[in-house]
Symmetry: C2
Amino acid sequence: MSAWEKNIRKVIPYVPGEQPKDKNIIKLNTNENPYDPSPRVMAKQLELEALRKYPDPAVSDLVNALADYHGVSNSQVFVGVGSDDVIAMSFMTFFHGDKPILFPDITYSFYDVWAELFGISYNQVAVDDNFELKLEDYYQPNGGIIFPNPNAPTSIAKPISFIEDVVKHNTDVVVIVDEAYVDFGCESALSLVDKYDNVLVVRTYSKSRSMAGLRIGYAIGNEKLIRYLNDVKYSFNSYTMNYPSIVLGVESLADEDYFRETIAKVMETRDWFTEEIRKIGFRCPDSSTNFVFVTHEKLQAKDIYEQAKANKIIVRYFAKPRIDNYLRITIGTREEMETFLTFLKKLVSNA
Amino acid sequence: MSAWEKNIRKVIPYVPGEQPKDKNIIKLNTNENPYDPSPRVMAKQLELEALRKYPDPAVSDLVNALADYHGVSNSQVFVGVGSDDVIAMSFMTFFHGDKPILFPDITYSFYDVWAELFGISYNQVAVDDNFELKLEDYYQPNGGIIFPNPNAPTSIAKPISFIEDVVKHNTDVVVIVDEAYVDFGCESALSLVDKYDNVLVVRTYSKSRSMAGLRIGYAIGNEKLIRYLNDVKYSFNSYTMNYPSIVLGVESLADEDYFRETIAKVMETRDWFTEEIRKIGFRCPDSSTNFVFVTHEKLQAKDIYEQAKANKIIVRYFAKPRIDNYLRITIGTREEMETFLTFLKKLVSNA
């Protein structure tokens, strides 16, 4: 060990899903959208001479477009390099108290990584046997709360009444609702941001907007929350959003029809796929997301994962307590899901 | 004050230079390159269908291209969203000890902001009356060292022997050399990274590569340093570099002739401009950067700044101790600098 290593922050990083370069793989492991971004995005000419200048540090064009789109004020919108950047900044900004923050034990596996990175104490609250969040768990003293709605990787949505109850019982801390998957059939908490000053709603372009490759996330909340968040962001990196993100991010918002159409297609495929796999012995919660969370009555999840991979189909397997016999399967195109279903049927009949 | 505000991290953020939208302004305030990126970058067709997928979290294409370009191994390169992101991650990773870190009192004004943000104690070591770093100051016990070479906003470069001496005297900590401006006539510390495992060299695409709008920075060092840095990066945000950054970042490296040509033009304009302003009563160190750091024998820097701004020319003024009678002037095109010089001559003759 070198002498300088004693001063190093040592962490166990988040492990993202595989991003294979082989284009023949059916990729159902990272909840990307199987459809291209809006034709408006695809047709946009970038003015690359803009690249020589720093982008607008306030990202006004994108902030204003998002404010218009959601019917909130410009001062209520924060943008970042994917919702991961937005949430990392939020952890740093809002979870700076002494009490442990709360989040579910089965949830986005980045939350505990951020808490560890920033030295925030945390309490992973157990979901029930059906993977449902329990309201009373969020009545205990805490330094802040975060959960996705719908939750991941469980795909289960909670009604707005649940969210409002949590927010109302925790006005002394910030409650972050991570709505990465909200567009696939879940009620948003956006209606609460003008009623409560302690709720922050986080969104992403990576799922419903088909733009994971551009890295855009945003948060909407009371303008005081957004101001604190911007102070930390400006203390970290003045210019996080690059020119292509800003321009193409605005363009995406201008094509609501295409957006609704692709979401409807994903939801239709999801509902059909859910019905089909239940016929062959799989169990899964009703999904409000672009993935399903499944377990089989006889087959082991890990075996299915490995055999699918050998057949060039990648899904997500988490070797974690409580969910190590489950798979998270992203909803691809109807064709991709038919191929996968055929594979699964063969696997089940050979079992 | 709301109840939740007691848990908030409160910081005083870095204030970036103005980014006016008026295209008629001569913008000499943020050290951008006056020339467009390489024609190869401008001609590159982006495949926007790639946007629906997450980018490669390891950013292999860009990392490999940078490794080839600099003749180091892939495992010695780290990339981030501008050098600000790279340095922020480096502060978080490497400056995690108990002793104060060291950096000059006159330097990039983000260093103390990062130290405050991450709760790192620091000691701002005074440069001498000629704004020169003093070697013996870096012999005191410390938790890490960072300085730009050439330094900003002073524009002064230190020889490689100085850097090596600092690195050799501080093998128990990480020494970061911020080489944002190195391409404009300063010797790089890259030759030290295979000799010492405690030196990290940070670079950016924002100045010499004319790509501030894309947000690309990188670091080169011993592979152990890079691994620690990546662990923290993966604990913060798995996918920081978006698809356009990766593709266009690679493209820029393939056009060495254009790169050298634009740098030579900037340096030629700088040397001519330096000579001309010295004739009219300005003093400034010999610059090894794409800016000059000037003071006038009679005129007040703040007045010059304000009057230039009224004439649609923006330079950078820092209302800070020791440098509040100085201006940092970015080198623009020859034509822009001629316009500015004419303005300055008029100002001086009217004084």
